[in-house]
């Protein structure tokens, strides 16, 4: 067990996988200097420029070329720099990578990890802040991960690199420096949630950085005598329906919180699935950003954030209302 940051945890996972398998390589802009967030620091020195490969500012080609290289037997880790920039490579991801195996009748595989740093990062404005995980969860063929802790960023990254399906791997930019204990012997499983805190009154479901805010909210709620269970989904496709169902069956109350826009967000999927599967003591709620655009000025940006207080407030309200 070692204490490391969220960024260091993923870097260790990548380094270990690259040592174990020559077919694994990384490609993206600025990787030769350790990547824009230093999440590849030290790797260029250890593995050289062929396996930690710089790339032109050609997101479509980074994605497309990595896919082509996967088709002939390599296992690329693709760095998109910002999830927002990955939109330049949407055709390559959605029309090519996600579909190839199916369209070609199982002749090909695309074992790729597509890293897309996501989320709000103070005053980065509308083109460097988005959370678009629900888009990818909507696309058959893709696995979608949104780890929230150093442990999960280590274990999930190892699992993603070993996976033969393409994995969209969304790391939250605001927690690169978050520290936590990492046990490298722990294996992650896609579709297996982390129960971050157990509780009996209300179920809080989240992923990525907002899951950490749910843990904070649960602490606040405990002070008020409300016992909240926090489920961090970690992966959105597949997602751990069984864990959420079991929890909601116990608590009868469900709050889903995420940083992305609430409208059409994955929270709606979680709530709808539970509504089809169980009954509630109070109406389930989802918290997400208003359907507006992320602003530069801090006060404007804050209007769009889901906070621990908001989550605790929603949970408190759910204790008062009746379904």
């Amino acid at each position: 067990m070692t204490v490391m940051t969220y960024a260091e945890a993923a870097r260790l996972a990548v380094a270990e996988a690259m040592r174990a398998d020559d077919r694994v390589w990384c490609v993206g802009e600025d990787l030769g200097r350790g990547g824009v967030f230093k999440q590849y620091a030290g790797l260029p020195e250890e593995f050289g420029p062929k396996r930690i490969s710089d790339a032109p500012i050609s997101e479509a080609c980074i994605m497309g070329a990595a896919f082509g290289a996967a088709l002939v037997g390599t296992r690329p880790i693709v760095e998109m720099r910002f999830a927002d920039f990955a939109l330049c490579a949407t055709d390559e991801l959605v029309n090519q990578i996600a579909k190839a195996r199916f369209m070609f009748g199982g002749q090909s595989r695309a074992p790729m990890v597509i890293r897309k740093p996501m989320g709000m990062w103070r005053s980065s404005a509308a083109q460097h802040s988005q959370s678009l995980e629900s888009w990818y969860a909507h696309i058959p063929g893709l696995v979608v991960c949104c780890p929230a802790t150093p442990q999960d960023n280590y274990s999930m990254m190892r699992a993603a690199i070993e996976c033969d399906d393409p994995v969209v791997y969304l790391e939250h930019k605001n927690i690169w420096m978050m520290e936590g204990e990492v046990d490298t012997s722990l294996k992650a499983e896609f579709g297996k949630a982390q129960i971050r805190r157990t509780g009996s009154d209300v179920t809080l479901v989240s992923w990525s950085h907002t899951a950490n805010l749910c843990v904070e909210a649960a602490e606040t709620l405990a002070g008020k005598g409300i016992s909240a269970e926090v489920i961090d989904l970690v992966s959105l496709w597949p997602w751990d329906k069984a864990a959420v169902l079991e929890s909601v069956n116990k608590t009868g109350r469900l709050i889903v919180a995420h940083e992305s826009v609430a409208v059409g967000g994955f929270g709606a999927e979680v709530v709808a699935t539970m509504a089809q599967s169980t009954t509630f003591k109070s109406p389930p709620q989802r918290l997400g950003s208003p359907r507006s655009l992320i602003a530069y000025a801090p006060n404007l940006e804050d209007k769009l954030r889901v906070t621990a207080d908001m989550i605790a407030g929603a949970a408190t309200k759910s204790m008062e209302s009746v379904a």
């Binding site: 497309g64 070329a65 290289a69």
Partner: protein, 329 residues
Amino acid sequence: MRNFDVERGLARLTLMERIRAFEETARHAAVEEELVLGAIHLSIGQEAVAVGVTESLRKDDYITSTHRGHGHTLAKGADATAMMKELLGREGGCCGGKGGSMHIADFGVGMLGANGVVSANITIAAGAAHGVKLLGGDQVTVCFFGDGAANRGPFLEGINWAGVFELPILFVCEDNQYSASTKTSDMTSGNVADRARAIGLPVTEIDGNDVEEIATKSAEIIARIRATGKPEFMLAKTYRLDGHTYFDPATYRPEGEADRMRRESDPVSRQRELLQEAGVSETDLDAVRTTATAEMQAALDAAKAAPWPADDTVFNDVQDVGSPAQEAF
């Protein structure tokens, strides 16, 4: 008359006739029998490019192709019956009936897929060559694309990528002069070959209806790429004798243009004439066509007799993790 190897010339004609017969049979099956359900894009008139370029490729070399990909796929060595079954959406199709004409692929012969998105195969091909280089192989990748693809971003990105990483790839722009129903020259500024020159790739501009010339030049180019590991570019000017799809009458073309091209530049007719001049009898040349037609008719008959794919295969090969076979909803 050029001095050429008659046997090799006949082999080139045979492959072109097979491609033409495949597509004419498929068109017949689509129009007269309504057996081909989706759109098919015929490469009739463009066969020389596929045949001439792939002649120097090994089975383990790679190609990527476009929505107009039957010729490239057959030329790379794919099985015509499996391809015909795919066009009919049947079990035993090379993609299990899931892809159809536009996603035809045969990884067993290095054919990494046709593509429904114009230009998308260019970055994929660059990546295949990148993968070969990383793995230390000596395979050459050939990327076939149309003139219309040169106006999309992946064209620039993919060619620059191949140049930057010094990849063993030949980009072949098969210029059939039309982007769907639009005359490509009306929508293209400058010469496409100059775009590749500007990026620093050696460029060969070639008559895309002359299979002998294409095969000879491609042999040199592909040998050079295999030896140096560096990318090159070919612009082959040809002509699409049919419409964009089999149901496109292509009335947007100037009157008489297609007839004139069919008379003067059809690569199959040109190769027949060349062989006739070299002493091959008309009977022998007709036999090449008859044999090709019979082969493709047999492929169609086999495809017609094949069942639809089993219903539950719709959930296969989507993904292992979170597979719809376990949870479709």
